[in-house]
């Protein structure tokens, strides 16, 4: 075990960074769950329960959310990296 694992409390900045990485880790899980929602939709044999246009809008909204969320988190990560290097960590 390297000593860094033994530090009980982190500086605010490092703490933020770790939570940021947690969010990045969580994002695909959120995406998978949201994209699993179509599994719950009723199979339409007779009359249309879910129209394809609605399905398209839903799936692409999830997509957009993930892209924007991912982009924003990547930006935050880059900024936090830059701050860490500035401080000479």
């Amino acid at each position: 075990m390297s000593p860094k694992h033994n530090i009980p409390f982190l500086e605010r900045q490092s703490y933020r960074r770790r939570r940021l990485i947690d969010t990045i880790r969580m994002l695909p899980v959120i995406g998978a769950v949201l994209w699993a929602v179509p599994l719950l939709w009723r199979q339409s044999e007779h009359s249309g329960e879910v129209m394809t246009s609605d399905a398209i809008i839903y799936i692409f909204m999830v997509w957009l959310l993930l892209v924007v969320g991912g982009g924003w988190l990547a930006r935050c990560l880059k900024r936090s990296d830059a701050e860490e290097t500035e401080q000479g960590h």
Binding site: L27, V29, P38, V50, T52, I59, G70, A74
Partner: protein, 896 residues
């Protein structure tokens, strides 16, 4: 036909343009100006080779047939990219730190650099990729046909074949020119990546253009198009949940495992940082690519006559509405998709084939081993080029043999399911240290056998490779082994069935075989390296480099990475080791670095084997490690021996120094004795001469005076005699010519006598003697007179030299280590430490000479005790002067 001619012209111009782009990129990289080549954007765009012609044309057809299911193919990779922190980050780090050249290289490296495993993965990758290449060739040839007036009529197979052959030849040429220009240690191909990035832009632009044209040009806006979608035959959500989930998983897995994806994602990665941008930019790319697929499909279904192939709506819809330019652009998009895929796939596969199959075979045919002179680079490059040609030709062959029918269209998912079999081994390898080579072998074999049995073979249709009866009743009537209904579970979608069972059993057998087996040391080291790549990024195993010939290594390295690079590398290493010249010491460190550099060109397993050939010992076995440990132990033993020896020498030196000091002291004593003895002899002699002269010459002496003078003469003569007696005694004792008069007597008696004699004549200052009568009750058998002489001397010394105001002497009798000891301890000042060493020497006298004596007493005592086989020594730290007389055990025992 006119359009076709223009098309050929545009196509040629486009190809020339691509060549120029690639060439410029190579050149810029060579001149070090290629900063823009290494931007995250280029990296993201290069990932788009995931979208092949199957995507470009096929997605629309897919949507027209099965609605929104096509989206799963893009959702899977999007999730993988969004989840980059979990997997891709680690994969890229491992790829960079271990200089991985392909997915086969990664798996073989992880599992102990096993070449057999690498060969297996390579073969499976080729099997999985060849139909895919065929699919690309087909799409290009068919898209050509779409423009020809004869489209719709049966195309002659010969014409189709020649078109495909032309395309295949062109792609092979491009890949060879830009894929094997140089043997880069990093295995990066700027030209290829740049061309792929440009093609990514072209195909995105083309598909967007068609999409916008369809939605706003033909559909009449967003809401109308949506309404049109709902009204079409795919207007209702008709999705089987199992297929939805399975396909998302499958596409995600394939995205990681496809050799071409691995090539652009891990091998061509310039900086880990790029992954961060690609993590959101690539999902965005996929999203835009799939955005207009459904509208195109729906409008195509509306617009085109029934029965027309929906796979080519992207081309036929603009053509049917008279937009030739748009159709041309769309064709270029499809062409880009197909060519970029073939180029990168051929490159990735050729690296694998050449590194893991051709090179090992070539090396083993070289009987002299890797150190023969001559350039091996051309062999590597040649084998790469031949491999590229072979891979593309294989695709072409498959295309011709399969007849280019619709059977090819379904090959995409089958191919995905094939390469997805690498996933358990890959994931297990980078997250689980317990994964072993045996496990990987078993898992991969099981996975591929099930994949082939349940998916690949039935895909050719019942009655071709798998008989209809076998499909319906199982092999030899074993119902539970039916290819599409394992264990009697019927009703599953064949693809879901195949993916489920192959991946499940693959993972299980991989896991169990890993648990049961025991990995080799190299595997375990590599496992730790891969799993904990973020904690340490050094290479695992060390070469025992003492046997390696640096020159041989140099010869070999020059042939693989080029003369100048090799020389630079060696020089750098030599400098790092602090040596002048070109040849560094073959330290394990250096060998590791060299192996890594070579691994970039020929793969880890081959590099390992090549260095192994020269260094000796193809791999580090437990025996090697033991030998190293043994050697170390021997070295340590030797050095500790040396240390002991030098300590002994130091001790001897110390003793010699002591002896020398003693000798110097003794010599001084001798000088002082000579003056002393002459003085001692002279003083009585002078008195004797003087008084005898008075007696002789003077007549008027009274009787009293005569008596007085003559008694002085007598006393002095006695003193002389005593001195001479002592000297004589000592010389007799020292020469060993003494006769011992052995007799028995009690210790108490001897001490009584000694005390009485020693203290005779002492006046008021007579010292008090303390004794313990019971302890003295011992009978001795020795020379009692001599022993008594020693005691008298010691007691006399105490009486003479003890300077306490109330002098006393304690005589203790006891036993120490079985010997009888008699201690004489007084309460005086004792003897200074400096003189303790010499008091037993002859003529030694302590301090200022208060008392007359020749300084022979203790010397005589010591000689006597030596004769009696005992000892007399000074006992320091007793508060005063203390002497210990030791008598041997036998002396006391014999008397009892």
């Amino acid at each position: 036909m006119g359009t076709l001619n223009i098309l050929v012209g545009v196509c040629l111009i486009y190809v020339v343009f691509l060549f120029l782009i690639a060439f410029a990129a190579e050149r810029a990289a060579l001149e070090g100006k290629g900063g823009w080549l290494r931007s995250p954007l280029i990296y993201t765009l290069s990932l788009s080779i995931y979208c092949t012609a199957w995507t470009f044309y096929g997605a629309v057809g897919y949507a027209a047939r099965s609605g929104l299911e096509y989206l799963t193919i893009y959702i899977g990779p999007s999730l993988v990219m969004i989840g980059w922190w979990w997997l891709l980050r680690k994969l890229v780090r491992i790829g960079r730190s271990q200089r991985i050249t392909s997915i086969a290289d990664l798996i073989s490296s992880r599992y102990g650099k096993s070449n057999l495993l690498a060969v297996g993965v390579t073969v499976l990758a080729v099997i999985g990729t060849t139909p895919y290449i065929a699919l690309q060739l087909q799409s290009v040839t068919v898209s050509f046909d779409v423009f020809s007036s004869s489209y719709g009529a049966e195309l002659t197979e010969a014409a189709q074949g020649s078109n495909a052959l032309l395309v295949a030849a062109g792609l092979t040429l491009f890949t060879i020119v830009f894929g094997t220009r140089n043997l880069d240690v990093n295995e990066r191909h700027h030209g290829v990546v740049m061309a792929v990035a440009v093609e990514a832009v072209v195909k995105l632009f083309a598909l967007l253009a068609v999409g916008i044209f369809v939605v706003w040009g033909l559909g009449g806006g967003v809401s109308e198009t949506l309404a049109r979608i709902d009204a079409s035959e795919i207007g209702q959500w008709q999705m089987r949940g199992d297929r939805w989930a399975t396909l998302i998983f499958l596409s995600g897995a394939a995205f990681l495992c496809l050799p071409r994806m691995f090539q652009v994602m891990v091998v061509e990665n310039e900086a880990e940082d790029h992954l961060r941008t690609a993590s959101w930019a690539f999902p965005a790319y996929l999203m835009i690519m799939s955005l207009f697929v459904v509208p195109i499909a729906v409008v195509g279904l509306d617009l085109m006559p029934a029965g027309s192939n929906p796979d080519f709506f992207v081309l036929t819809v603009p053509l049917a509405t008279g937009n030739d330019a748009l159709a041309m652009l769309s064709f270029l998009g499809g062409f880009s998709s197909a060519t970029s895929m073939v180029i990168v796939a051929a490159l990735a596969l050729s690296t694998m084939v050449s590194n893991h199959i051709v090179m090992p075979i070539w090396l083993s045919t070289q009987s002299v081993g890797a150190s023969v002179s001559g350039d091996v680079r051309h062999v590597v490059l040649l084998s790469r080029r031949i491999s590229i040609g072979a891979v593309v030709f294989l695709g072409y062959l498959y295309f011709r043999l399969s007849g280019g029918g619709t059977a090819l269209a379904s090959i995409g998912l089958i191919s995905f399911a094939g390469v997805a079999q690498f996933l358990p081994v890959l994931i297990g390898g980078i997250f689980w240290r317990g994964a072993t080579r045996t496990g990987a072998f078993v898992g991969l074999t099981v996975g591929f056998v099930i994949w082939a049995y349940t998916l690949l073979l039935p895909s050719f249709g019942a009655g071709t490779l798998v008989s209809a009866t076998m499909l319906a009743e199982g092999p030899m009537g074993l119902g539970w082994l039916r290819p599409q209904a394992f264990f009697g579970i019927t009703g599953m979608d064949p693809l879901v069935h195949a993916v489920f069972w192959s991946i499940l059993l693959n993972t299980m057998s991989f896991f169990i075989a890993s648990l049961v087996g025991f990995p080799s040391p190299l595997e375990r080291l590599q496992g730790a390296q891969f799993v904990n790549v973020f904690e340490h990024s050094s290479t695992p195993q060390s070469w025992a480099g003492s046997l390696a010939q640096t020159e041989d290594l140099m010869v070999m390295a020059q042939r693989i990475i080029g003369a100048r690079e090799a020389q630079n590398l060696f020089e750098r290493e030599a400098k790092r080791q602090g040596m002048s010249g070109l040849l560094p010491e073959p330290s394990p460190d250096f060998l590791q670095r060299l192996e890594r550099e070579l691994a970039g060109s020929v793969g880890a397993a081959t590099a390992h084997a090549m260095i192994g050939q020269i260094v000796g010992g193809a791999s580090v076995s437990v025996e090697d490690l033991m030998a190293v440990a043994d050697e170390t132990a021997q070295m340590m033993e030797y050095s500790s021996k040396l240390e002991a020896k030098s300590e002994e020498q130091a001790r001897t030196a110390r003793q010699l120094r002591q002896a020398n000091e003693k000798l110097t002291l003794i010599s001084e004593q001798k000088d002082s004795f000579l003056s002393q003895v002459s003085h001692e002899l002279r003083t009585p002699m002078t008195s004797i001469r003087a008084f005898s002269e008075i007696l002789r010459d003077s007549d008027r002496l009274s009787e009293d005076e005569k008596i007085k003078y003559s008694s002085i003469i007598h006393d002095e003569a006695l003193r002389l005699t005593r001195l001479l007696d002592d000297l004589l005694d000592l010389s007799v004792l020292e020469s060993g010519r003494v006769n011992l008069n052995m007799q028995s007597g009690s210790l108490k008696g001897i001490l009584d006598h000694a005390v009485a004699s020693a203290l005779t004549g002492a006046g008021a200052d007579k010292m008090r003697v303390m004794r313990n009568a019971t302890s003295e009750d011992i009978t001795l058998h020795t020379d009692l007179d001599r022993l008594s002489q020693v005691f008298i001397n010691l007691i006399g010394n105490a009486q003479k030299y003890c300077d306490a105001s109330a002098p006393n002497l304690r005589i203790d009798v006891g036993r120490s280590n079985g010997a009888l000891v008699v201690d004489f301890i007084d309460n005086g000042r004792g003897i200074p430490k400096a003189e303790q060493a010499v008091i037993f020497e002859k003529f030694s006298r302590t301090g200022e000479q208060k008392v007359k004596g020749a300084g022979l007493g203790l010397a005589i005592c010591r000689e006597i005790m030596t004769r009696l086989e005992g000892a007399v020594e000074y006992l320091p730290g007793q508060g005063g002067a203390a002497f210990r007389v030791t008598l041997p055990e036998e002396v006391a025992l014999a008397a009892q």
